[in-house]
Amino acid sequence: MALRIKNLKKSFHGLTIFENFDIEINEKEINCILGPSGVGKTTLLNILSGIIDADKGQLSDLKEKTISYIFQEPRLLAWKTVYGNISFVLKNLYNRQEIENITNKYISIVGLKNFKDYYPDKLSGGMKQRVSIARAFAYPSDILIMDEPFKSLDFKLKKSLIVSFVKLWEIDKRTVMFVTHDVEEAALLGNVIYILKDSQPTEIEKVVHINARQIDRILNPQKTAKTKKTLLKYLK
């Protein structure tokens, strides 16, 4: 099963970013969009999530899909605790008991059980991003969008966040749209990797499929290195 976007057109101030752009989003898989900055990756996500409208194009039944989002920055509410930030997105959907169960479950999975009542002010950058990941999974979405959530983090932190993410995704296989400019992230996470060409309008240069489980890729750096090489070749 796949969600299809067809004939997408979008331009800003006379600058055409997408023209006749087609892409398939495979359900229950991590769809990775890899490309240099400035090729309209964020624009594509904004169209998918309904933050902005496309000029033209068939977005199949995307409009009815619920979406959760892991942004580049954690985007937490400073006046709510870890618990409060996650339950924030659940409030109108469940009863009190369910909210409590779901929130606690995701807090435990991302390893923040002891920080449940902390305000974001008191958390490290990595912890904050883990709250944001937990929030995205706690919300019952059809599509999970990730816009470079590991950008500007140091290597160790990135690795641990990716592990947290994969753990969650193994339990709860969402349809993921993951945007990145980082070949390593794409190689570790993507089931399908769309490599975008640095052109105007944006085109898909190559589609790469990887079947290996994400956990195995993390544990097997050599294999990942090979994939990285392939991706780099197309990305140039």
């Binding site: 989002y69 942004f71 985007r75 509410l77 709510k80 924030f88 997105v89």
Partner: protein, 252 residues
């Protein structure tokens, strides 16, 4: 850590108060004329005598009511207009010069004009309203401008309804600014109340009593009333701070 800093802060306050009293006493000994600078002990005797008079509570109450009324009016109008200025660019631009004019008007001009327009007892209310309104208004506007659009976008993605976005994002974002405004406005408003009372002479008023004491060259009483005004200002500040701490607990 927090308690230890406040404790040492308390010592500093105590020491500086003692120093102030000592300095006051020494200067009053040098001047040696109670009519110019009454000694601390005479001022405190006068303070005590004032507090036990029958009218004292009424004077205090009426002045406080005036201050409170002025404050409440500027509180509600300040939030309303501040909100409009912050959310509507055009309104904000049109309204800003008004605020600047009000803020630049000498407090005495406001009081004198109010004396022409209003009954004596309402002059202080008007004066305190007019000095505190721009402060609350501008702080609310500032708070709205400081709202992180990224958070609003996040709430939209997660389908949070408008009422909740207002309650859980707009309101907490503005709150620290509003509280800062309230605390400044209350302080300035209270001083305006007393100044206006001195000139408008309502029957029961702290400012009136101060002015009467001055006319009778009862300098001790002028000092005593001043201490009362300072204490009220200090107490209201404390109450606001307490309140602030209890609701803005995510900070610090």
């Amino acid at each position: 850590m927090r308690t230890s800093t406040t404790r040492s802060e308390k010592y500093y306050i105590l020491i500086s108060l003692i120093l102030l009293l000592a300095l006051w006493k020494i200067i009053s000994l040098i001047i040696d004329a109670d009519i110019i600078l009454p000694s601390p002990e005479n001022t405190f005797i006068s303070f005590y005598n004032l507090v036990i008079t029958r009218d004292f509570s009424r004077i205090l109450l009426f002045s406080l009511i005036r201050g409170f009324l002025g404050f409440m009016i500027s509180f509600f109008l300040g939030i309303t207009f501040g909100f409009l200025s912050g959310t509507n660019k055009y309104f904000g631009k049109l309204f800003e010069p008004f605020l600047i004019i009000i803020r630049s008007t000498p407090i005495m001009s406001i009081i004198l004009i109010a004396l022409i327009w209003f009954r004596a007892t309402n002059v202080p209310v008007f004066a305190s309203f007019l000095v505190s309104f721009p402060i609350i208004c501008m702080n609310v506007t500032e708070g709205i401008k400081n709202i992180d659009v990224n958070l609003i976008q996040m709430a939209q993605v997660y389908n949070i309804n408008k009422i909740r976005v207002f309650k859980e994002i707009y309101f907490p974002s503005i709150l620290p600014f509003l509280l800062a405004g309230i605390s400044t406005a209350a302080g300035i408003g209270w001083k305006a109340v007393i100044a206006a009372e001195v000139l408008s002479q309502p029957e029961y008023a702290l400012g009136t009593s101060m002015q009467v004491s001055r006319i009778y060259l009862d300098t001790e009483s002028v000092f005593a009333w001043t201490i009362i005004a300072i204490l009220i200002s200090f107490l209201s500040e404390r109450v606001i701070r307490k309140f602030e701490k209890s609701i803005v607990k995510w900070k610090g």
